[in-house]
Symmetry: D2
Subunit: 101 residues, 4 copies
Amino acid sequence: MDKHLYDQPITPRTESEKQAVVNRLKRIEGQVRGIQKMVEEDRYCIDVLVQISAINAALKKVGFTVAERHMHHCVSHAVKSGDGDDAITELLEVMKHFSKS
Amino acid sequence: MDKHLYDQPITPRTESEKQAVVNRLKRIEGQVRGIQKMVEEDRYCIDVLVQISAINAALKKVGFTVAERHMHHCVSHAVKSGDGDDAITELLEVMKHFSKS
Amino acid sequence: MDKHLYDQPITPRTESEKQAVVNRLKRIEGQVRGIQKMVEEDRYCIDVLVQISAINAALKKVGFTVAERHMHHCVSHAVKSGDGDDAITELLEVMKHFSKS
Amino acid sequence: MDKHLYDQPITPRTESEKQAVVNRLKRIEGQVRGIQKMVEEDRYCIDVLVQISAINAALKKVGFTVAERHMHHCVSHAVKSGDGDDAITELLEVMKHFSKS
């Protein structure tokens, strides 16, 4: 946390940006609940795995949306302010974890 | 769905097995809600990405647990019953999607 | 090594099976050499990254081919011989690494 | 190709930078040849899969090195020159492929 370049997005997320991400996360939350139901109903393993893959793919999409906005605003701002190197190191570290997850 | 080898796990999941998976999914569901809150509070992008990576990793772990049980029960049963090839093709197809997600 | 269930594939690879895999690996080897040339010629980073993604995807395909044959022969044999649990644990461990790579 | 922002890295790679990447790729090339030999010698499937995972991981490391340099030079330059949005879109597209590979 303390190693982070900024505390918040350099350009605050607008209400409609927040809403778009939250809506996608609410759908993902519903999908996670759906898998709980599938397990409780003893549904076939392959069907459960297909659903887990779908959620992971949906979460990665959200992640790339967040990363893209981060680059357009925070990283770009950092580059122009002379803090580009720190912003790039910070982003790449998280992308490495992301690509393994 | 109709292309699946079985309709349900060949050995029904026990109550404690179900509970263990459902508990992990409930924790993941809570984490997804946590990210919604982070977005609403306009938390820093990198923190959001770290959380998304953590959820993906947790979901993959659940997926491997499901795949492992599936192999010990359904695939093993299929192999012994002469349906091994179908079970293996079915599993590998879903693992390919899984590994890209 | 010593923790492995078998020393060799339970059904030896046929010459044509070997040739098919080796041919795909030779093509991948050529692609890796191609990237070296791109770097030496100072080609654009994005083009280099596209090529690296293509090689990774090709290697994963080879990996899934190897895993599939392994399941049809070694794992199936182990299941029928009463060593199924060891074979499944062994395979899943390597699939976990594979899915992060 | 024609959709790319630049034709070459905005700061040419130095000889030592080229050498470092080429050396790592030569090692990877050797590992790919090593797998060919393993297949020809009919080595155990799991050993082959372990090696494939190792190569994938090594290639991803090279990819992240290339991406990092790209951000420090090309993307940063583009941001300062007013072409940041194109550079970011271009990079994220390739990172999405990369994360699935």
